[in-house]
């Protein structure tokens, strides 16, 4: 499902070149729930961004869902992201001026889905994360755990093959973190969605199928 071959990423200023990832190889089969761990600045988020096609590698090849996507750009990459990928962020990134259900509908807006169908799919996704009773609330009226559940509903509403979660439990207490992990595990098991999760929490990582460790931009296990 996800194939990264010899991926390197460097950031260049006038005087300094920083290597974020070095010759990284990673293969994630369909249906796997993979966690990535490592100290701050080791390149976890960069790796996730490259998998999510929101950042480009300096070197290497990326293939997602059986397609070579390294050279995708413009509207092609946007369409691919929209159809194949779902994102979950540590800080939720909900739009406070939109209701919960409108936030969940967001990915479908860029897929030319009718309003009625959007609403049906959004409510279905909210039902799956146990928040259908909060559909018309606004994000400011929700707890952190609820916000992250909305973000998960938003990530799954378009039925993507891959979900990329960047520290989804990082801003939550352990109880709420467990709840979020349960939902992600269930999605993985019930829908067969491939999930790649970056985390700092060893306990959460242990709940996934496989753990990959990074250090200084290199894979160490």
């Amino acid at each position: 499902m996800i194939e990264l071959q010899n991926i390197s990423k460097s950031y260049r200023t006038d005087t300094i070149e920083t290597l974020a990832l070095q010759h990284m190889n990673l293969s994630v089969p369909a249906g796997e729930f993979l966690s990535i761990m490592g100290p701050s600045g080791c390149g976890k988020s960069t790796l996730l961004n490259i998998m999510g096609l929101i950042d480009e590698p300096t070197e290497g090849r990326v293939a997602l869902a059986g397609k070579e996507v390294t050279n995708y750009n413009g509207s092609k990459v946007a369409r691919f992201r929209n159809e194949q990928l779902g994102f979950i962020f540590q800080s939720f990134h909900l739009i406070n001026d939109l209701s919960v259900v409108d936030n969940v509908e967001l990915p479908l807006l860029y897929r030319r889905v009718s309003g009625k169908e959007r609403r049906r799919l959004a409510l279905e996704a909210l039902e799956r994360v146990g928040l259908s009773n909060r559909a018309n609330h606004f994000p400011t009226q929700l707890s952190g755990g609820q916000k992250q559940r909305v973000a998960i509903a938003r990530a799954i509403v378009g039925r993507p093959n891959i979900i990329l979660a960047d520290e989804p439990t990082g801003n939550l207490d352990s109880h709420m973190g467990d709840e979020i992990m349960d939902i992600l595990t269930r999605l993985n098991q019930e829908l067969g969605t491939t999930i790649v999760m970056v985390t700092h929490d060893e306990r959460m990582a242990k709940k996934t199928h496989r753990l990959v460790r990074l250090s200084d931009g290199e894979r160490v296990s």
Partner: protein, 393 residues
């Protein structure tokens, strides 16, 4: 997408209140300026009906103690001798209503149930030639007309169009205007107040109407000079007229300059209004720029999120332009509601079409400015890198 943006803008209505008010205010001002401007442009574009080029106006003071015969003779002498001056092409005498003079005489009469209201101009038999009036029908009155049963008059086209629209010809018809008068000619427009004056029903009368007993002579002349010779005839003209009238109270003016002065009461307010509008539009443009840049800097994460969710750069640009257009549309809708009340309730004596034109022009101007101002910040937003902005918080 539109319903999504409508919802978003409704939920952000407080934040967008100021832009809404700004648009509404700009619309109201622009609507007024455009309606006033179009109305006056229409007036300006309709012909004066006479020529002011190479023309001089002159006012003399004829002694009160002259009897009627002597004053009439003096008038004739003035026309004759001024006409003989080198460089003078034509000369005419007229009563107190001179082109661009600012005076108005009106009269109203009942003509067999018709209520005829007309402006009055008194002139001699040379006036049409000197002013180069254009005739729709008939001719100017002559000295011989004075011997007829009815005093001759010449009316303008507006007079016929307003009071006798169904009559094929009113030539030689006798109508009641301050007594029985015979129409001998119909001229086209005669807007003597200024280029911006309304073309009103108007009647030219002979000196007989102005001064039946002959004791009150015409004291104004219009002189058409040969092209380019107005300046050179002023001095001999002054000398001749002071000599003939035995009075130094002779005032000469250039009719082209008089026209500019006569237009000022409209031109100056129009320039002021256009300047205020331009200043307002610049302010709106700068305000919108500022507001959009601020909004975009506050919404960087949202932009990154939308891009991560599959929005293309074009969709991001379109979203921000549409957002501001939605607020603009709300301001314009309310503004249009107020603006249409002006023609519907007939609040001002201006034809309705100018208000509707003003509404359309104000909407087009504001939408153009808004789109232009929104494009640069919106395109900047579309270029934001999602990987960067999503990790800024």
């Amino acid at each position: 997408m539109l319903s999504h943006l409508l919802k978003l803008m409704w939920n952000k209505r407080r934040a967008n209140g100021l832009i809404f008010l700004e648009i509404l205010l700009a619309f109201v001002v622009l609507f007024g300026v455009y309606a006033f401007g179009f109305y006056n442009l229409d007036r300006y574009s309709s012909p004066l009906g006479f020529s002011y080029a190479n023309s001089l106006g002159v006012r003399v003071d004829i002694a009160d103690d002259l009897d009627s015969l002597a004053s009439i003779e003096l008038q004739r002498r003035m026309v004759r001798e001024v006409g003989a001056l080198p460089g003078v092409a034509s000369v005419s005498m007229l009563g107190p209503i001179n082109p661009f003079g600012g005076n108005t005489w009106r009269t109203g009469s009942d003509d067999n149930g018709f209520d005829l209201n007309t402006m009055m101009v008194f002139a001699d038999e040379h006036f049409a030639e000197t002013m180069e009036l254009k005739f729709r029908q008939g001719r100017w009155f002559t000295v011989a007309d004075g011997a007829g049963k009815y005093d001759p008059i010449v009316v303008n086209g507006k007079f016929i169009d307003q009071y006798y629209p169904d009559r094929e010809s009113m030539l030689d018809s006798v109508i009641q205007i301050n007594g029985e008068k015979k129409i001998v000619g119909v001229v086209e427009d005669y807007k003597y107040h200024s280029n911006f004056a309304e073309n009103m029903p108007l009647t030219f009368f002979t000196q007989q109407e102005y001064n039946p007993d002959g004791t009150d002579p015409f004291e104004q002349l219009v002189i058409r000079a040969e092209p380019g010779r107005t300046a050179e005839i002023e001095e001999p003209l002054y000398n001749l007229l002071t000599d003939l009238t035995k009075n130094t109270d002779v005032v000469i003016w250039n009719m082209a300059q008089d026209r500019i002065k006569a237009n000022r009461p409209v031109v100056i307010p129009l320039i002021i209004l256009i300047s205020i509008s331009a200043f307002l539009l610049i302010n709106i443009a700068l305000g919108l720029f500022g507001v959009l840049f601020t909004q975009i800097s506050h919404r960087r994460a949202e932009i990154g999120l939308r891009k991560a969710m599959g929005a293309t750069p074009v969709e991001i640009t379109t979203q921000f332009v549409l957002e501001i257009l939605i607020v603009t549309a709300a301001g314009l809708l309310l503004g249009t509601f107020f603006a249409v009340q002006v023609p519907l309730l007939e609040l001002l004596p201006i034809p309705d079409r100018f208000f509707y034109l003003g509404i359309v022009a104000a909407i087009v101007t504001i939408v153009l400015i808004v789109v232009l101002c929104a494009l640069i910040p919106s395109r900047q937003a579309a270029r934001l890198h999602p990987a960067l902005v999503l990790h800024e918080e």
